[in-house]
Amino acid sequence: MAIGESQTELDDGPAGEIGDDGFEADVGWRYTLRKIKGDATARFGLYVIIVVLAVSLVTGIDSNLERLTLGRYEDFVLAEAILSHPEHLPPPGETERRLPPAFAEEGSWAHPLGTDQNGRDYLTRLIYGTQVSVFVGIVATLIGLVGGTIIGAISGYYGGWVDDVLMRAVETLYAIPPLVLVIVFTVFVSGNDPDIIYAVFGVGIAFIPVFARLIRSRVLSVREMDYVEAARAAGVKDRDILRRHVIPNSFAPVLVLATLYIGVTILIVAGLSFLGYGAQPPTADWGEMLRVAHQYMHANPWMSIWPGIAILVTIMGFNLFGDGLQDALDPRIK
């Protein structure tokens, strides 16, 4: 009998099979997918994310994206709303802050969630706000991810003083509260003329340390592997080694982190908008809507509820899915 082989020609019976005990691989994409399918909360999170993405696309992408990236809007919400639903035009000369229907008087189903301080339909603004949040969340996280990957990979791979310098810089960046960092960045770069795009870049930069540290630790562990040494000995360029061996190996935890950080980004940008350093009016953004709602707290408490719920649900979706992803990729005690 060869070593390791413990089979016999015997078949069946609970005590009959040797070797094969129904063992299935514990790694790989298929396993991950299976685990997620089995995890109800993770699935729920995924559904929420899909719903949010769908809502963000409902109003069409191009014109908004253009405006988002090029700067300010001019009353686009009002214009779009009027164009698509003329009945939403507020009565001339009257700006009403209404209450939702059925819960309160003065409400009507024409404006299911009421109107804002300028008479614009709240639900519509909420929907448009989804776009901003999704855009910001994805782009900022991507910036952090890419920037962090580059820095982390270089730092981990080359080591030495490069590593020291980069890591000190990264740690200093990490020590600054993200909110403050982004505000400073915005003021610095825009000349005190804030807009959403600076928020996006600012947050992205603020998140570089997180990704950098993760990638660096993965690089450090992969670097010592034999196949990397072999590749080096064979003359493969460092750049290619990084690209082809190191980075694919780090993919899984990065994915988890990115998912979770999309949620964090939305949270931070909401806070920035609340302070006036994020999306500028008349852009519809949940944080911005809350900023205004805060002023009308006593007069119209309803305005404060809906954007907050939107933020809550969205982030919860990302958190649930991210957690599920984490459990699937690195099973720990639940």
Partner: protein
């Protein structure tokens, strides 16, 4: 025959996992007499640790003691009665509270394998020893402290009184193991279960610990169940030995008989696989293959896929515990060679070497 201190009869402990039932301990029987050191030998995965935790009734979900009996000094630790075709825990079985108060620590103490992990890093060593002594003996706090210091001294820790206040990370591996021994002996139990206590230590330290245990055992007259995978340790220390394989005991007997009058192929294989200084690497005789999972043990004799003496009959017949005593002591073997079930008539299995009938 002297009174047995611990008597384990047909113990079965199974783990009910998502992937199936793991029959970690599948019907073992052995006993321990007062003042003797009984060895429990086997490879990793044989079920030794599960057996010891079962004795202490510390088996946790998803594990469960399914059947069998464990008697200790007249008390029933584990016992089942049959009621309507099902096994029901016996009434006289000690309750959990009784186990905790009477048995654990007082009567039976346990020493774990990993001295690094067995001590709580945030409390001083002395405090930990004292706590257990105070709990398990009728001593006041101050008396327990003194006793703890005394035990630390006895196990060979220098400047015991000072080191009482030090923390585990300030002790080396060997020292930590001595602390664990001090803990165990300090509670004056009648039985100590030592679960591979020297496996994590290097050979010289191991030698010291073994010597220490022998001295202390003689002094305190404690019985030991010594779990190990090292036949050499067994030879040095034990009075009687149980050889375990995949949840069952395959051979049992006095130490000399096991070594010089081996009656089971597995024991033989274990003994011949020990590297010796007078043999080269090429002459090493390892046991082929690895131990299969206890979820789907081989049919028939569990060892047959790796057994050099396996025959066709071994694939069918599940051996019992046959009495093969022919020396001074009682010896058992679970190999059908010693039974009259047709081993010698059946064909060799997979072209293994044949053994001539006696």
């Amino acid at each position: 025959m002297t009174d047995t201190l611990l008597e384990v009869t047909d113990l079965k402990t199974h783990f009910f996992t998502e992937r199936g039932v793991v029959r970690a301990v599948d019907g073992i029987s052995f006993d321990v007499r007062p003042g003797e050191i009984v060895g429990l030998v086997g490879e990793s995965g044989a079920g030794k640790s599960v057996a010891t935790t079962s004795i202490m009734r510390l088996v946790d979900d998803p594990g469960q003691i399914v059947s069998g009996e464990i008697e200790f000094a007249g008390s029933t630790i584990v016992g089942f009665d049959e009621a309507d075709g099902e096994l029901v825990p016996r009434e006289e079985m000690l309750s959990n509270a009784d186990m905790r108060r009477q048995i654990r620590g007082n009567e039976i103490a346990i020493i774990f394998q990993d001295p690094m992990e067995s001590l709580n890093p945030v409390y001083s060593v002395g405090a930990q020893v004292r706590e257990f002594i105070e709990l398990n003996r009728d001593l006041s706090g101050g008396e327990a402290t003194e006793e703890a210091i005394e035990m630390l001294r006895r196990v060979g820790i220098p400047e015991a009184e000072d080191r009482y206040d030090e923390y585990p990370h300030q002790f080396s591996g060997g020292m930590r193991q001595r602390v664990l021994i001090a803990m165990a002996l300090g509670c004056r139990p009648r039985l100590i279960i030592a679960d591979e206590p020297t496996t994590a230590l290097d050979v010289t330290v191991e030698g010291q610990i073994l010597e220490l245990v022998r001295d202390l055992q003689a002094e305190f007259d404690t019985s030991f169940v010594w779990v190990t995978h090292d036949m050499g340790v067994v030879a040095e220390l034990c009075d009687r030995v149980n050889v375990m394989y995949l949840g069952k005991i395959v051979e049992q007997g006095p130490i000399d008989d096991i070594f010089y009058n081996t009656k089971h192929p597995y024991t033989e294989a274990l003994l011949s696989s020990i590297p010796r200084p007078d043999r080269t690497v090429a002459e090493l005789d390892p046991i082929e293959g690895t131990m299969p999972s206890a979820r789907n043990p081989p049919r028939g004799c569990r060892f047959h896929p790796r057994c050099p003496d396996a025959r066709e009959a071994c694939t069918r017949i599940d051996p019992e515990f046959y009495d093969v005593s022919d020396g001074a002591g009682v010896q058992y073997s679970a190999c059908i060679k010693h039974a009259d079930v047709g081993y010698w008539d059946s064909e060799p299995f997979d072209g293994q070497r044949l053994e001539q009938p006696p």
